[in-house]
């Protein structure tokens, strides 16, 4: 559906934007007005993402409950919808325990290091044509860079807690994250190669005729690799070894309580949702689709991918650590390189055949 940003159906933020411009931009000197409008826009996107993430915690618990033959949260609000709100309020009112031996400033800094990138990434993921806070021409690389920062936060959390479980969990998490980051970075090159741009908007537009998922034979392989590496990057089951409760209590966030813990939790879900959104953008045609407005398509696809993540969590048992490492270094990495190579050769062949 062809969708200009000055159409209300296409741009759900149109009235917000017009109002913000009318209030601040027309009455304040430049660039102050623009900066305030920008701050408001980013704040709104961030709040919206936080609300979506809270709804997702509820959705995941309901779906996994259903898959495991139990009810899941159903007491607070209609169908338990307000459970996440209740949890957030509860965590807000809980004492923030900082262990005596902990290194206090890094201890409090760690949740922020994990949370901030997971929220910033939403400023460049496009919800529709032209519908992102900013469209970077190096978008994909920037998203990958942001994805690397939580590793530092997790290591800091493990180190600053001064707890053996936390330290082990932090090391495990970091080793896992870096192991899966390589196949992730390489496989992301496939959509970049096919689209010829690193801008996320450009990649979506390049898929208007054919989703990269269906670019045979490499599309499905790249898609699966991206999904698997993405799940590993956000520490979700079956790759949730950093917080394997049967072995190392809660891993790197063993010593965290109250709000700092809630920030880790929020970041984890924001990241899961970001992985779903990136899968949609890179392989499933992003916002593209018939009849419905683009942002509806974007969220439909993202939620579908997120459902698959929940489904995987409800189905598969946790991997063993040596299996996890072997999969990353000896299967995913060579497979990603082969996928990229085949994609490049195929593209060259197509080009020479078409003249």
């Amino acid at each position: 559906m062809n969708c200009p940003t000055d159409n209300f159906i296409c741009n759900p933020f149109l009235y917000f934007h017009l109002a913000a411009n009318a209030i601040f931009r027309d009455h304040l000197p430049e660039p102050l007005g623009t900066i305030i409008v920008l701050a408001l826009t980013v704040a709104m996107v961030t709040t919206l993402i936080a609300l979506i993430v809270m709804s997702q915690v509820w959705a995941e618990r309901r779906i996994v409950g259903f898959m495991q033959g139990r009810l899941g949260p159903n007491r607070v609000g209609p169908a338990g919808l307000l459970q996440s709100v209740a949890d957030a309020v509860k965590l807000l009112l809980k004492e923030i325990i900082i262990p005596t031996q902990a290194d206090k400033i890094p201890f409090m800094l760690a949740p922020l290091l994990v949370l901030v990138p997971s929220l910033v990434v939403w400023s460049i993921i496009p919800w529709g044509p032209g519908l992102s806070v900013t469209d970077l021409n190096i978008g994909v690389l920037f998203v990958l860079g942001l994805g690397g920062i939580p590793t530092i936060g997790i290591l800091t959390a493990g180190w600053a807690s001064s707890n053996k479980y936390a330290l082990l969990g932090g090391m495990r998490a970091a080793a896992q994250l870096i192991a899966y980051e390589i196949p992730l970075v390489i496989v992301v090159l496939v959509p970049v190669l096919l689209a010829g741009t690193m801008s996320l908007g450009g990649i979506v537009e390049a898929q208007s005729n054919l989703w990269f998922l269906f670019f045979l034979p490499v599309g499905p392989v790249a898609f699966l690799l991206f999904l698997v590496a993405g799940i590993a990057e956000v520490n979700r089951s079956p790759f949730d070894l950093p917080e394997a409760e049967s072995e190392i209590v809660a891993g790197f966030h063993t010593e965290y309580s109250g709000m700092p813990f809630a920030l880790f939790f929020l970041a984890e879900y924001a990241n899961s949702f970001a992985v779903s959104a990136m899968t949609t953008t890179l392989f499933l045609g992003g916002w593209g689709g018939p009849i419905l407005p683009p942002f509806i398509w974007f969220f439909l696809k993202t939620y579908a991918v997120f459902f698959v993540l929940v489904w995987i969590r409800g189905t598969l048992p946790r991997l063993r650590y040596d299996q996890l490492m072997r999969t990353a270094w000896k299967v995913a990495l060579p497979l990603a390189l082969v996928t990229l190579g085949v994609a490049a050769i195929e593209l060259s062949l197509i080009r020479s055949l078409l003249g």
């Binding site: 920008l38 190096i138 690389l141 920062i149 530092i152 800091t156 090391m171 870096i178 980051e181």
Partner: protein, 171 residues
Amino acid sequence: MIAPTEALVAGSFYTFAAIALAGAIGVVLARKVFHSALFLVLTLASLAATFVILGADFLGAVQIVIYVGAITVLILFGIMLTPRNVELPESSGVGRSTAGVFVAAAVFIVSTTVIVTSQWPRSMSTPIPDRPTTEAIGQGLFTTYALPFEMASILLLIAMIGAIVIAREEQ
């Protein structure tokens, strides 16, 4: 979209330069090595922002991916795998700090001299071209600089083999 007025660009440049410097001072002054590493993250991230302000958007992203995302993890691993009693010595005599000051001053003088006396292809007065750099870098890498590009691969290969050999010896 904010038009990048000269004042805004200059202001953000000086802000990030100040943050980078503050981080660097933190690296030197922090008592614990781990804290130094965290200050280093701050410096490296501000340098990425500085790259972007100077018009090198691709390099800025690379700075984040490689330095903030990878090198820092390597440094943190190195620190965490070192037993705690090998913290930096508290103070080790006047001779050592004098030598440190001397070396730092020498490096400072040499690099300032080089910066001041060099003939730069672009002076302060000509504005930086405001366009994406990735394609230009790619064109350069695969045509003019194809040989250095392949040499980089050999360098990486040597680094990898060297790392494995050293790690094997220690076990």
